[in-house]
Symmetry: D2
Amino acid sequence: MIYSFRNDYSSICHKKVMDKLIESMKEQNIGYGEDYHSDNAKKLIIEKLGHDADIYFLVGGTQANTTVISAVLRPYEAVIAVESGHINVHETGAVEGQGHKVITIKGQDGKVLIHEMQHILDTHMKTHMALPKMVYISQSTEVGTVYSLEELKEIYEFCQKNSLYLFLDGARLASGMAASGITFSDLGKYTDVFYIGGTKNGGYLGEAVVFNNKEIAKNFDYAQKHYGALMAKGFVASIPFEVLMQGNLYLEIGKKENECASYLAEGLKKLGYKFYSNSITNQIFPIVPKELFFVLEERYGVELWEKLESEFYAIRFVTSFTTTQENCQEVLDFLKKYQCN
Amino acid sequence: MIYSFRNDYSSICHKKVMDKLIESMKEQNIGYGEDYHSDNAKKLIIEKLGHDADIYFLVGGTQANTTVISAVLRPYEAVIAVESGHINVHETGAVEGQGHKVITIKGQDGKVLIHEMQHILDTHMKTHMALPKMVYISQSTEVGTVYSLEELKEIYEFCQKNSLYLFLDGARLASGMAASGITFSDLGKYTDVFYIGGTKNGGYLGEAVVFNNKEIAKNFDYAQKHYGALMAKGFVASIPFEVLMQGNLYLEIGKKENECASYLAEGLKKLGYKFYSNSITNQIFPIVPKELFFVLEERYGVELWEKLESEFYAIRFVTSFTTTQENCQEVLDFLKKYQCN
Amino acid sequence: MIYSFRNDYSSICHKKVMDKLIESMKEQNIGYGEDYHSDNAKKLIIEKLGHDADIYFLVGGTQANTTVISAVLRPYEAVIAVESGHINVHETGAVEGQGHKVITIKGQDGKVLIHEMQHILDTHMKTHMALPKMVYISQSTEVGTVYSLEELKEIYEFCQKNSLYLFLDGARLASGMAASGITFSDLGKYTDVFYIGGTKNGGYLGEAVVFNNKEIAKNFDYAQKHYGALMAKGFVASIPFEVLMQGNLYLEIGKKENECASYLAEGLKKLGYKFYSNSITNQIFPIVPKELFFVLEERYGVELWEKLESEFYAIRFVTSFTTTQENCQEVLDFLKKYQCN
Amino acid sequence: MIYSFRNDYSSICHKKVMDKLIESMKEQNIGYGEDYHSDNAKKLIIEKLGHDADIYFLVGGTQANTTVISAVLRPYEAVIAVESGHINVHETGAVEGQGHKVITIKGQDGKVLIHEMQHILDTHMKTHMALPKMVYISQSTEVGTVYSLEELKEIYEFCQKNSLYLFLDGARLASGMAASGITFSDLGKYTDVFYIGGTKNGGYLGEAVVFNNKEIAKNFDYAQKHYGALMAKGFVASIPFEVLMQGNLYLEIGKKENECASYLAEGLKKLGYKFYSNSITNQIFPIVPKELFFVLEERYGVELWEKLESEFYAIRFVTSFTTTQENCQEVLDFLKKYQCN
């Protein structure tokens, strides 16, 4: 393989994260997240939010989604998500595994639509249908799109009006923030709970779950342990955030990823390729002839996203904190040559 | 109210069921389904099937659906159903409550389509998506339609080929059998597990779960108790089936319900009403002006099914074992008069 | 079999309950517990309590225990019970099945001891241990003993002081009330939630769950449906209570059962038999030689309770609403003869 | 604090593990455990076992316990453990959270006793009690004791005879193996499934779950994802094992920990202290006066294990891969001085 564009979790971690880990090798820390690194990472996040919050460090995205949803909802309560939402498609029924229905709406461009959520509420039948109590969105979405600040506000207001909690999955938050201009302060104001993805944004693991709504965070430590989501070495989960939350590092990682993806997308457009979605984040979805996909898969590890008509495939390129403009140019050069043959 | 067409569970039970209950008042029976009545009811069902089967008596439909699905599937396995399926819409997330994802397909006329199920299998992604392992259908469906024997066979063959279990919800099986011509022997051959609805077909309660596939029935008694679905007075759950399975009583109840519904539907068509679905069972869905719905709701307890465009409502009339042709004629007479005003 | 003393759920129901059922055959009622009979049964119960309460009619004991516990507790919260408690021993892990740990204490005579519960609280370790949040007791207990009013009050005060909910399982409440002198008004004052057993006290089925603490009853209708514990024919579950709650019928059934059990116990004592527990309710546990147990099992359906030392068995006789003094005398006569051989 | 003896998870990881991590920084690996490091770690483990096995890398102990138990058992099946077992006491009801009852036996010295397990089987009541299907043991145990090879064999034979799976929790397996002489080859022969603890034995995280019984491992990848226990960066979970499984490193870590603990224990004995358990592993439990505990807590981070009579406390010292003989001598020196005052 020349360079893998398969995903944004193929390399261990950002150099600065590793430096911190090495630096901390000599320490003895208290377990289960009651250590200095966890406290420090929380402090840095709270500074960015501009208000107090309850913060917990979990290992991965599916775990974070499931633990948050199950800790907050009552058994008969459900979460609304778009059909393409990660919790609905790619988590092997983890949310249902803890007892909660995922009520799906079609959405548009991977994003929820308020009128569709309103329809769910309007057609709810007391007692006989799972009670919608939370809205799940992700920034960026599964198809690389982002919510604008205006859209986020509107959704949050809708939730507030209808007694729904708003939960934002930030597995790819760095890229999503860079693309949308939404800040931590905005996330602090316009969600009940969200998480800051570490795994896909330079950490070796970790998702920092941030409860702006402290009431629903009550006893989350118990839930975390109950669902097997509490690390004995809690500091291993928080150290990445101690680093990523320094200055603008997190955002810069997202920005760089987006720039690379954009550079690649522009080049692909010039070469005549159409796209499956209007992504401005670190995942792009060009449409290529079936046979080209197999070539690209071998050279760049790209994945098939969806089989379209007439032997065309939508495929996915993902840039990460390791991707450079040179990596992208190499793809474009290759394709130029490929097209000449 | 003149006569309630609200549903098929508004009266206690068929007279013959009550007679048997009264007759059994003096007895002392063993608990938890190990009694004579349960044995006898099983024997009668097995006679109709024409082959051996494992049979259990549960209380109601949601309980039967959830207990069967949870007892048979592994935690990460999912059940395929149409979007309008009872388990997907009207069971308050009970199946998800026991950990299983319901994978939905659009379907047509309330029925599954094989090519849509095939698409689910084709786009399944190992490890990352809930594993489809069962297909859930109901006879009759939520919109009053039925599977033909040909359709049932085809679905069963599809399931067999793809290692999926076929589970048929028979909450309204009497009406469904009468309308489709499908026999108990057919159900015995072309499903892995199904249940014979008692609650909505003349019993005061009860659903007889029939496992043709005895392998998946292993330890179902434990599952039944584990999910709170085992009655201490098991004979109370089986007595209705001892009666309903005598001769053709069950089928006759369905036939009579269908005849009444058909009589009513024909009359409504003559009066110019259109229908929401092509039901030939005991649920019919005429479309009426909004204001007429409120009149009918008061006189006949009918329910709103769906708000359509231009102030028209699809509403539901349900006939039951107590409904007579006179009850239906009274509705038609009323509507004739109503239209003249 | 001469007469079965196996349990108190071997006969369909009390004659008066059946009369009411027959009387209601002609009616059409609304489904899912929104009917007249349910309202009426609730009214009668509330009159006995002397204060308002939220009341729901479920089918059986395991279902009632599991649904109440799961609806009230958060996932990581646990219920304290004695080791011999029904939820710990004889419900096939139903409470755990819905995610909750049963924390056991030894107790004494089938009853919880406050100092043991205090020890659970004292040794609780934040985050790392399931959080005790409810105490489960039953009246009468598994070994036929009862809590006195004084004991109940003390337990309730302990619970109040420690933010624990008190839940009383009343599967055998009629007998328990008759033996203890505890009234519905007492149960209304000194529990958060309890249920009035129908199945084992003259109903053909049914347990009336009474929430004195209305806050924890919020959305219980959703939980009831979610756990498959809501009957379509809700009136079938409430009719028994409409009858049993008339005047003193419920208590009289318990009193009669206890009198028969006491008559039998006294006779057995005179014949020289020792007892396994000091029951004053409708379950008694004489100790007999192994070979006699097999004789009694065949004649009276009695069950083995525990194998003791030296080939002696503790066995269980249960009286029910059908038991007469004659039935008991017959046992005593038989044993007298048996001893002479 | 002078040096923390609080636990064996206070330092990030063994130097060699960190070296490997740094060495791998430049790589791009496939996600979700399908990478080279995972394959290599599996290969090394299989070599030590001496036979093929299905191996999965999870993050922590509670997660490993819960995922294994839930993936293997049916909903109504239960796991037998000693009362002091980690899954019973210190996992916040995680196993119950996934629906399974933990059936407890008293045991002795933290270990299961066969006659007590036999009693569970003998008193099992079909349908009405959770079905015992697995035995959970840990090596070393919660109180620092170990099973001998003879004991392990006997338990495994008991399990085989009674259709129970044997699951060995190896959170502290390095120390347990060093103390007992049990080898990986023994674990491969005499358990159905066990795990090799990484977190507490030199890894920054990770537990390698080893299924000797491949039949029960079927679809464990789905279960792993379903329970949120599958890391996107799977190589982060396997790299520690790639290192620890090299040569005898794992065992040497355990040996060194045990030697330090033993050195400390011997010194304490000479100073006159009694012990709570006969540990020969890396956890020791001296009994000290209450006031001394507070002094030691501050200097060495030791934890209170149990309050004994007359103001004496059993406390816990834990040695880890970072502990030296000097650290232990310092404690002994301090105590000698302390006693003189």
